[in-house]
């Protein structure tokens, strides 16, 4: 019964995480307000030359279920129709008009409507006048994508309900059997430490550094990659890396799609890496774990390095593994240099995030404070700095990517916002800025942790 309740709790937590991730994604997507515009001149009667855009043509857009504002400017009255996918097919095949929204005899006006579902929508305009009409139509999407919003709220609510119900059932059972509730936080009791530490013996004449280091690494893996941390990292990596828009359909330039959505990838990576490192360093200090570990003959340097190596390696391995799927999904050549360049740049930016979070954690020694400060600092830089600025992660990645693309393929990638190719100086600067700051902060943190930091 206890196991079932725990299973339900874990299931509820997973649902909660998925729902929250979707909610965050939905809120983030709502900040993007894409627009489209149509400018047409309707002549009446229609010209006689063969036109391939037959009178049944419909301008089609793939639209999500958001609010749509249509601003119409004409010099006379027109009829305007919005067709969903079914309506479009009906119009193209039979010429029957079945719009989801329509307005007749309208001139310059702004309309607001709600798109009912996600899909392809067609805009059709008719000129009922016996004269030439100039039409200027601008559509803009805003608001939340309702399907994503409902899904995320429903999943979050289900997760909350299941977690709460299973926790209540678990607590009730503990009360009935008079069993003390299991501590959710690892306390100061030495019995919470893993078994391998009980076997650890100090040999007076020979300290086995390597074995100690390996044991520390194993412990860090078990402690800080416990369920559901690794699972959350996998879900976030898959959802952010594999979902960005395909911006280039030419197979020769398919590598440019590696640039698409990179800012979203970095934003989530910053959040995950920052939280994980702060939890590991500052969290273990504030909970007293570090003090307890150091009461054993464990070297501070080994403890510091084991945390850094484990967390960085796992994060990079997960992201690199998911990135590798892009070779298949984008039909890339397995030896495409830009794929490996992308991996290198992602590794460097990840290293920088890890170094910054580590430095903040060892200085503040407070988990919540270090997470907040690193998130504000890194998110702020990422959002305020321009996409091609060397201050932001996206800017450094884009600069390096564009430079390598220019050198290898002779063209700038379509997704990069450069008017001219970045120079070798810019590319090297983007590379060495990341390496330089990372190394400096790493060395600073290491020296501070091993020689200066007081653990109370």
């Amino acid at each position: 019964m206890r196991n079932k309740a725990r299973l339900f709790t874990n299931f509820g937590i997973i649902l909660l995480v998925i729902g929250s991730s979707f909610l965050a994604g939905t809120i983030y997507r709502s900040t993007n307000t894409p627009s489209f515009s149509i400018k047409e001149v309707f002549e009446f009667p229609q010209p006689q030359q063969a036109i391939l855009e037959a009178h049944r043509s419909v301008l089609t857009y793939a639209l999500p279920p958001r609010d749509l504002s249509i601003e119409l400017k004409t010099n006379a009255t027109v009829d305007l129709y919005l067709l969903d996918d079914e309506g479009r097919k009906l119009w193209l095949s039979e010429g029957t008009l079945k719009p989801v929204w329509s307005v007749k005899n309208t001139s310059s006006q702004t309309f607001t409507l709600q798109l009912p579902s996600r899909g392809n929508y067609g805009i059709k305009a008719f000129n009922p006048n016996n004269s030439t009409v100039t039409l200027d139509l601008r559509g803009q999407l805003y608001g939340y994508e309702r399907d994503l919003l409902w899904f995320s709220l429903a999943t979050t609510a289900m997760g909350l309900v299941i977690t709460a119900a299973s926790r209540i059932a678990l607590l009730d059972r503990y009360k009935k059997l008079d069993i003390p509730a299991r501590k959710t936080k690892r306390g100061l009791l030495h019995k919470d430490l893993p078994a391998n530490f009980k076997d650890f013996k100090v040999k007076p004449n020979e300290v086995k550094h390597t074995k100690q280091f390996h044991e520390l690494i194993a412990w860090e893996l078990e402690e800080y990659m416990a369920f559901p941390i690794l699972e959350i990292i996998i879900v976030i990596a898959v959802c952010t890396v594999l979902s960005p828009t395909i911006i280039e359909t030419s197979p020769a330039l398919s590598y440019s799609n590696l640039l698409s959505g990179i800012q979203t990838i970095f934003l989530f990576l910053i959040f995950v890496a920052g939280a994980l490192f702060c939890h590991s360093y500052a969290g273990s200090i504030s909970k007293g774990e570090t003090k307890m570990l150091l009461s054993y003959p464990v070297q501070r340097g080994h403890l510091f390095l084991s945390k850094f190596i484990v967390l960085f390696t796992v994060l990079f391995a997960v992201y690199a593994g998911v990135f590798a799927l892009q070779i298949y999904l984008l039909a890339l050549n397995p030896f495409e240099p830009l794929f490996y360049a992308s991996l290198l740049f992602v590794a460097l930016q990840l290293l920088l995030v890890c170094a910054i979070s580590t430095a903040l954690s060892v200085i503040t020694k407070n988990e919540i404070l270090s997470i907040l400060v690193s998130a504000l600092l890194l998110f702020g830089l990422e959002n305020v700095a321009a996409r091609i600025s060397l201050v932001s992660f996206t800017g450094r990645f884009t600069t390096g990517f564009a430079f390598v693309s220019q050198q290898v393929h002779g063209v700038l990638p379509p997704g990069a916002e450069f008017s001219a190719a970045p120079t070798a100086g810019d590319a090297l600067l983007s590379l060495f800025v990341s390496i330089g700051i990372s190394v400096f902060l790493f060395v600073f943190s290491y020296v501070y942790y091993t020689r200066k930091m007081e653990i109370d």
Binding site: E231, S243, P251, A331
Partner: protein, 171 residues
């Protein structure tokens, strides 16, 4: 949580994430591609349009011309063969077409090209529109396969564990 259970949960979540991504990619992958000679392309004879990436989805081919044409959709190998030796081995063939709409399904991911034959003794205007819809089938199959295999494996390991527990329990 036991290591084996954790492994199964991690694999399940990997499959589930891929399933979510498959759904999200219906909007992030291209929907419509158009080819033709509206902007000053060739109007007679054999014409090969720029190659493009296609994913294993359902798509609709809309061919409109003011003359009878032949249209072929070639995969990467067939396109190379055509360029090298003129041998035609199309994945999809539409012969003697003036206007038509066809629903097809792409089975593999990769580069494709459109080849058209426009009548040699006339000036032909042609437009070929490919409209893509539905999910990428390979991703869908992969994610469902991972989830199914993992669920079966997890079920079997739970059953084996339960059986061993029953055997060890003293009667």
């Amino acid at each position: 949580m036991k290591r084996s259970s954790r492994f199964f949960v991690a694999i399940f979540l990997l499959g589930f994430s891929l399933l979510i991504v498959t759904g999200m990619r219906t909007n992030s992958a291209p929907h419509i591609m158009s080819f033709g000679n509206e902007e000053g392309g060739a109007t007679a004879g054999w014409v090969m349009y720029p190659d493009f990436l296609m994913f294993p989805r359902d798509f609709r081919v809309d061919i409109r011309a003011n003359n009878t044409v032949d249209v072929y959709i070639l995969d990467e190998v067939a396109a190379r063969q055509w360029n090298a030796s003129g041998t035609l081995d199309a994945a999809w063939t539409y012969k003697d077409i003036k206007q038509g709409v066809f629903n097809e399904h792409a089975y593999s991911r990769g580069a494709y090209a459109i080849l058209a034959y426009l009548p040699a003794n006339a000036t032909t205007a042609i437009k070929i529109t490919l409209t893509f819809f539905s999910v990428e089938k390979d991703l869908l199959v992969a994610s469902l396969a991972i989830i199914a295999t993992d669920s079966i494996a997890m079920g079997i390991s739970l059953l084996i564990g339960q059986k061993n527990k029953n055997i060890q329990k003293p009667k």
